[in-house]
């Protein structure tokens, strides 16, 4: 894809999703935990971005903040979140309810979180359509049928009358996607939706999501820990570590020529079909930072083989690593030796 220069710091005029300086703190413990430490992102309509990271990197929390799904009494969200003209953090109860589902919809790893076990799936979708669009039950049912066809559920009319437990795992995931699309959102947020699926089913769902993104012009943010999945669904990849976006760029650039030492280490420790047997795998020493007591500068500094004292002096700026590729590493400011 011919993406224009897309330094995450530079505000894009045509962005559908605009995130500036997003911080999320979890309160209630002995010490506040800074799960997201200042994320900047912009995503255009019709664009798919993969948010790649390991557990505790802040990828899911960032996603949930975009939909205001974090418990308000125990979290403090700050920064600037603008989605399709809505100031997300300022939305009041009623506007928030219309925003969720109408502008932004979310799918999860476990369809059990999204589907009510005691109602037929067709009725759940019809109800969502009726509430958001104020149409009749018959119109809601018709839309549900249309959606089931859209997500390629076989014998859709019959499956509308099924309860969630009566569907197979892959089919349940398709039904959840249909429910998410019920109110014609512009943004689809996906939180590891294929992680629990078998390989042969996972690829079907990934292809479906790409097809929907293309056909419906959806902006998609896809959270995953799997590099292959990220590349399969997204044109751009953003790598998160310790609550920060450490690297963003076209997926081919980030995966093919990673600029941040963390991304480099993550990719090097992956096993590929070419990994020689019996040879020790390269690993990243140490473990991810304690978010209640994060390192003062670069979050990766304590584990980084290239760390110098300057790395501790503050979060490195996002520096260009290529025309549509940036990373938060001071080494990028150093001319190549």
């Amino acid at each position: 894809m011919n993406a224009p220069l897309r330094n995450p710091e530079a505000a894009a005029d045509d962005a559908l999703i605009e995130v500036r300086g997003l911080t999320v703190d979890f309160l209630g413990g002995r010490k506040a935990v800074r799960a997201v430490g200042g994320v900047d992102l912009s995503i255009r309509a019709g664009e798919a971005l993969a948010l790649l990271g390991e557990s505790g990197s802040g990828k899911s929390v960032t996603l949930r903040a975009l939909m205001r799904l974090l418990p308000e009494s125990r979290t403090r969200i700050a920064g600037h979140l603008r989605v399709d003209g809505h100031d997300v953090l300022a939305l009041k109860r009623k506007a928030l309810s219309a925003y969720r589902g109408g502008t932004v919809a979310m799918i999860f790893q476990d369809p059990g979180l999204a589907l009510d076990p005691v109602y037929r799936i067709g009725d759940q979708i019809a109800e969502a359509v009726m509430r958001h669009e104020g149409v009749s039950r018959a119109a809601g049912r018709a839309r549900a049928l249309e959606l089931f066809e859209r997500v390629h559920i076989p014998s859709p009319a019959r499956r509308l009358d099924a309860y969630p437990h009566e569907l197979s795992g892959g089919m349940r995931q398709r039904a959840m996607i249909a429910l998410a699309l019920a109110c014609r959102p512009k943004v689809l947020l996906a939180d590891e939706p294929t992680t629990a699926l078998d390989a042969t089913v996972q690829i079907q769902i990934l292809l479906l999501l790409r097809e929907l993104q293309r056909d419906l012009g959806l902006a998609v943010i896809f959270v995953t820990h799997d590099v292959g999945v990220a590349v399969q669904v997204a044109d751009r990849v953003a790598v998160m570590y310790g609550g920060h976006l450490v690297e963003v760029g076209a997926s081919g650039d980030v995966i093919g020529a990673p600029a941040h030492p963390y991304t480099q280490g993550l990719l090097a420790s992956r096993i590929t079909p070419d990994s020689p047997k019996g040879v020790r795998l390269p690993t990243i020493p140490g473990s991810p930072p304690d978010l209640a007591d994060p390192p003062p500068g670069c979050p990766f500094e304590p584990r980084c083989a290239f760390a110098v004292p300057a790395c501790r002096e503050g979060l490195p700026a996002s520096l260009a690593a290529g025309p549509s590729h940036a990373a938060r590493c001071i080494r990028l400011g150093v001319p190549a030796a």
Binding site: E54, S55, P154, S168, G169, G170, M171, D198, A199, T200, V201, Q202, I203, Q204, L206, L207, H225, D226, V227, G228, V229, V231, Q232, D235, A250, S251, G252, I255, G265, L266, S269, R270, I271, T272, P273, S275, K277, G278, R280, L281, P282, T283, I284, S287
Partner: protein
């Protein structure tokens, strides 16, 4: 492997473990009197594991790989079939359950659920040896040795509870706990699947080292084909309670002979944006093991299915050196249009 293991009976040529005709059906729920049709989780499985090798096991949900592991651990009892360990039949006078369990241990996917939350890390590791008759002091000393060996400094970690260590560290504790009885066979059931990739690499390196150091034999169950290829000498592919294909890891995952293995491989997303998949290799979910399809169990999802596949179940036939596949296309004279010709009699 250690040549001088005093427990070794038949020498290196005798398989450490042989499984013969293993069947496990779970009674169904629902239906009249709560007796629905049985779930045919493992439905006739035969294989051997040689001493010192790693046998990888792959397959999707419902294929029977975890049930097979549980039967091998005797957490569940098989309906039919024999387990032979180093030449001795399990349940015979020569090999009772307790003696067998000392030699076969297992590490599970859920590192938290497999540890008692009320025991400290060192108590968990020392528990098994104590139960098998070691004194408390000796058991604790063995626990400390093992914790050190898996990379957890006993003075720092020994007194912690499971919730006080990270997922990767907890899995190291589980590995130490499994090794505490000095087993000869370790069953790893998705043991690294829940770990982050950077931690997974550390644990895989540890497993490789331990295998060499203690002369262990592994059964390595995973859904990640790259990890299985990396760890295994041989690989067994299961589908709906049966073996689809078994053979050398490089042959199975490099030149598979069963269409299901090929589809599993082709379903792996590539990390090259230019090599993205445009079409799914298989449609639909794996069928339900309650009512497996007649004939070849894979025929409902197989793009090469012919008439014979719908009616006759293929046997596990040799297709190359030490490589067996249950597919009519690989079996001469099976009646499948793509089957190889029957070789001329010499």
């Amino acid at each position: 492997m250690t040549d001088l293991d005093p427990r070794d009976r038949g020498g290196p040529a005798q398989p450490l473990l042989t499984v013969d005709g293993l069947v496990k059906h779970f009674p169904g729920k629902g239906g009249f009197l709560g007796k629905g049709p049985a779930v045919r989780a493992v439905d006739g499985v035969d294989f051997s594991v040689m001493k010192g090798e790693t046998l990888g096991v792959v397959g999707e949900s419902g294929c029977g790989k975890s049930t097979t592991a549980r039967l091998l651990m005797q957490i569940a009892r098989q309906d039919r079939g024999d387990i032979v360990f180093d030449g001795e039949l399990l349940g015979s006078r020569a090999l009772d359950l307790k003696a067998y369990r000392r030699q076969v241990q297992m590490v599970f996917q859920d590192s938290y659920a497999s540890l008692n939350p009320r025991l400290t890390v060192e108590e968990s590791v020392a528990f098994g040896p104590k139960a098998h008759g070691l004194s408390a002091a000796a058991a604790l000393s063995r626990a400390h040795d093992l914790l050190r060996r898996v990379g957890l400094e006993p003075r720092r970690f020994g007194g912690r509870y499971p919730h006080e260590v990270s997922g990767g560290q907890r899995q190291r504790v589980n590995i130490a706990r499994a090794l505490a009885l000095e087993p000869r066979l370790l069953i790893l059931d998705e043991a690294v699947s829940a770990l982050d990739k950077s931690v997974e690499a550390q644990v895989l390196n540890l497993l490789t080292d331990l295998k060499q150091e203690f002369g262990l034999t592994y059964i390595f169950i995973s859904h990640d084909l790259n990890v299985v290829r990396f760890m295994s000498d041989r690989v067994m592919v299961m589908y709906l309670g049966r073996i689809a294909e078994i053979g050398p890891a490089d042959a199975i995952l490099g030149a598979p002979r069963h269409p299901y293995t090929a589809a599993l491989l082709a379903s792996q997303p590539s990390t090259d944006p230019e090599a993205r998949l445009e079409e799914a290799p298989l449609t639909g979910d794996p069928p339900n093991p309650i009512n497996p399809p007649p004939g070849c169990r894979f025929h409902t999802r197989c793009r090469f299915a012919a008439e014979v596949c719908r009616t006759r179940e293929p046997g596990l036939d040799p297709v190359a050196a030490a490589h067996f596949a249950a597919c009519h296309m690989a079996s001469p004279g099976s009646g499948h249009p793509d089957a190889p010709p029957v070789p001329m009699a010499a």
